[in-house]
Amino acid sequence: LDGNGSLDNVEWLRPSPRLASMRRVEVAVVAVCVALIAGGALLASGLWLWAAVVVVVALAGGAVTAMLVERRVRTWGYAERADDLLVQHGLLVARLSVVPYGRMQFIDVTAGPVERAYGLVTVKLHTAAAATDARIPGLTEETGRGLRDRLASLGEANASGL
């Protein structure tokens, strides 16, 4: 390997620490909604025992997921190298993507309602391959926009044909 350096000693950049609290809120909202809707429906049809079970399971599942959020969020990382972008994530299945700048077709910067409330964005890279999986969530708006602009100009400079 030349100036690119080995994949082992890469300086990983991490998403904003706010991503973890955002994910926890998301998990909590989903768990509470499931508990309320399913529990309420079951209670209304008189199955109070089942209603209690569903509520407990939903809340317990939410609590466990929320505890794992911290570890899952910590697995996200990205690195801009000389010729390509590296993105890694995944707790159960650890994934690493290498996307050459020359292969980027377009870059999305999206922010859902919850993300907007936290001032975070998700940057996603697209290549001609549908399987390419290079998504970086939880960047601050400023970082996200900077990354997008840098990637776009790098992509243009290195563009190679299909």
């Binding site: 390997l1 690119n4 690493l96 290498v98 996307v99 020359g102 290549t127 001609a128 044909g161």
Partner: protein, 423 residues
């Protein structure tokens, strides 16, 4: 017509509306005519409705023919269409991935053909439906020649076309029988006939039959010939298709050896191109997928010869995964291997069928590494090589972690060198 004549606006063949109406019109005709003959009064309203539909359809397709025109201008095929919503489409010749000539059954009756330009982008395709067949073939030649002129230098003198492969019909028929899918269907059918009765059979026999018919229709008499700058694929039973694939647009080559074909040494060879298209059911056209079968069924020698033609420099070695990968992938372990040189990567896998994929390194879009929970325990990892298109990739499955890391670094570097900057 000549190159100069292409610059003028042209209409499609006046018979186009007839073919365009195709089966829909025919079906209505079949419904209406008997009703007219018997003069049955109960169907009068239906009759009126069908008649109305037919009139609207005929008028619509005639108008659409009247307002459609095309020409080749400023290095692009231009097409204008639409009465209410006028549309002007432009297909740059330099971006053509392939040009197909399709002949649905009805078009064949009238000696017409559809010309289809396959572009790099996912959905857009230029369709000229329909032209007289001779004109369609000549226009395709001219378009491809001009595309070459804009992108790559034209070969000094045209190489005479050389036959590379022709599918044998008995083998094609046998290959449909020796198919796990059709055998399973047969088994289910027998069970159903025995326990339920033959009436229930119709529900899936018909769609299955249609599917098999489509494949036979598409793969019958498939021939591959060498033409300047690419390969020419032809074939078809009732409706015929012909297309030319520029060699430089091949994203991957895939060889499949289904377990039931193994005793006979048969295999199937596909090429993967960029760009995909909705399947054209009317023409029984399976070319719409991004993968095209060069060899629907053939021998290993035939496949090897074609692979050499497509990718002259393929790695011949095979690096096997460590023996402990058997625990992770018990079924596919015997098939797992990979290797690379500085031009082409090869990876094999598959559980029941052995699948070999060759990917030119200059076409690789991205690389991915995966470590699942079982793999971590066994110190294994999988490296995926993504190529343009959907679900197309070669996988270096279950490699030793040390080897995998080395391979990933090596591949990143080899792909970087293989990529050439866009013109």
């Amino acid at each position: 017509m000549t190159v100069a004549a292409d610059e003028l606006w042209h209409r499609l063949s006046p018979l186009s509306p007839v073919v365009r109406l195709g089966r829909g019109g025919l079906a209505i005709f079949v419904l209406v005519v008997p009703a007219l003959v018997t003069g049955h009064s109960a169907v009068d309203w239906n009759l009126a409705a069908y008649g109305g539909l037919l009139v609207v359809g005929v008028a619509g397709s005639i108008v659409s023919w009247l307002v459609t025109r095309w020409r080749v201008h400023e290095g692009a095929l231009q097409k204008e269409e639409g009465l209410v919503r006028r549309q002007s489409l432009r297909f740059p010749l330099s971006q053509i991935q392939a040009v197909d000539v399709l002949q649905p059954a009805l078009a064949r009756v009238f000696g017409l053909a559809e010309l289809r330009l396959r572009m790099g982008a996912s959905q857009s395709s230029g369709r000229l439906a329909y032209l007289p067949i001779a004109e369609a073939l000549a226009l395709r030649e001219r378009l491809l020649a001009r595309r070459e002129a804009t992108t790559e230098p034209v070969p000094a003198e045209p190489v005479p076309s050389r036959l590379l492969f022709r599918v044998s019909t008995p083998r094609l028929v046998a290959s449909f029988v020796l198919d796990l899918g059709s055998l399973a269907l047969l088994a289910i059918s027998v069970v159903v006939v025995v326990f339920v009765g033959s009436g229930a059979l119709a529900i899936w026999i018909i769609p299955a039959g249609v599917g098999i018919w489509r494949r036979i229709n598409a793969e019958y008499n498939r021939t591959v010939t060498e033409v300047p700058g690419g390969l020419h694929i032809e074939g078809g039973f009732v409706s015929t298709t012909a297309e030319t694939i520029p060699l430089g647009r091949v994203q991957a080559v895939r060889l499949t050896e289904p377990i039931l074909w193994r005793p006979f040494g048969w295999c199937r060879l596909l090429v993967v191109l960029a760009g995909r298209q909705a399947r054209d059911a009317e023409a029984g056209d399976t070319t719409g997928r991004s993968a095209r079968a060069l060899i629907p069924v053939g021998t290993a020698e035939e496949a090897a010869a074609l692979v050499r033609h497509l990718l002259p420099d393929v790695p011949l070695e095979r690096r096997r995964p460590p023996a402990r990968a058997r625990w992770k992938a018990p079924l596919s372990y015997p098939n797992l291997a990979w290797d690379t040189n500085d031009a082409v990567l090869v990876a094999t896998g598959g559980r029941l069928a052995r699948i070999t994929s060759w990917v030119p390194l200059e076409k690789v879009q991205s690389l991915r590494r995966e470590r699942g929970p079982v793999q971590r325990r066994l110190r294994l990892e999988t490296i995926r090589v993504d190529v343009a298109g959907r679900g197309v990739r070669a996988s270096l499955r279950d490699r030793d972690i040390v080897e995998g890391e080395q391979a990933l670094g090596e591949l990143v570097e080899l792909c970087r060198r293989a990529r050439r900057p866009a013109a």
